[in-house]
Symmetry: C2
Subunit: 188 residues, 2 copies
């Protein structure tokens, strides 16, 4: 049975264990084994800091996985969770197919404009944030490296679904849509 | 001569080309060739969106590199630029050594507390952001996957240097410190 690494900021939820269980049950329903970062019980080790041990456990889990499904919902700013984005890059570098979903529908520039602080620089015909840094205007969910990694190294764009209020990090509609795709394309 | 991929949000600066040139000159001074994303002139191609072509060019440049130096300065929130973090993961997945710097000195939790919105959850003995999501408290610069990738896959922690006011994304002190380390360890 193929294994799917379940990347996302879900691990930071107060009920992270429960969300992980729901994702793993959905994986099983589609014929996969879901690997959730919190599955690994990390034992204290002499002289090794806990965060290092978690890193090693997650990286090892990613290497065991056959593919990854990444929750790319914006987290503490306009972009996805940094840990998830790192893991997306790692999956791509290891040659594993990646699928992704986000629980918002607007693109990066639209969200930046809604949040305020985005201004148009007519001399360079580009949008800039409050620090003067260019905001990409490609209609992507996130930085172009992220959206295009999904297309080039997974075969499908990030699916966008507008989560109901209060369910930004727990709505699994987009997750299940990408799982269904994985079942059609990657299950063996 | 070994090639260093120069990852960072530097590409979004109004004077990105100039910063890239300064970084490449520093690389040359330490015996390396610096590869800056904007070095590649991307030609329009029939039916291919520009952002896809940029993704391919950057990913190909990363595959040509021998190692990477990543600018992990917080960008539009408490974490590093998402594109840079993706590239860090890709470098690690490809087995290339990674070095990193940040132009702030406080850790993730301290910065989150300074910015407001971080509250302590006594029942779980953890810090939470305004959305109730746990904030890691390991003394790291960023998500534990990032800090530990540098230690585990590069051999050295992210170097922290407090940039002068107005130079958050252009101060190259930390960059040069990591370049010096690369020269000691990786040059051949």
């Amino acid at each position: 049975m193929q294994k799917i690494y379940l990347a996302g900021p879900d691990v930071f939820l107060p009920d992270a264990i429960n969300v992980g269980r729901r994702k793993k049950e959905l994986c099983a329903a589609y014929g996969f084994e879901g690997l959730f970062p919190l599955d690994d019980v990390i034992a204290e080790a002499d002289g090794e800091p806990m965060d290092r041990l978690i890193y090693r456990a997650n990286a090892a889990m990613i290497r065991r996985a056959d593919l990854g499904i990444c929750n790319l919902t914006p987290f503490r700013g306009p972009s996805a969770d940094a840990g998830t984005v790192f893991e997306l890059g790692l999956l791509v570098g290891l040659g594993k197919p990646v699928l992704g979903y986000t629980n918002v529908t607007e693109d990066l520039l639209a969200r930046s404009r809604s949040a305020g602080g985005a201004t148009f620089d007519p001399s360079r015909r580009t949008w800039r944030d409050a620090a003067g840094m260019e905001i990409e205007d490609f209609g992507n969910v996130d930085n172009l490296m992220i959206d295009n990694a999904l297309i080039e190294d997974g075969g499908f764009p990030i699916i966008r679904h507008r989560a109901k209020a209060g369910e930004l990090f727990t709505d699994l509609t987009g997750f299940e849509a990408r799982l269904r795709l994985a079942a059609e394309r990657h299950r063996n």
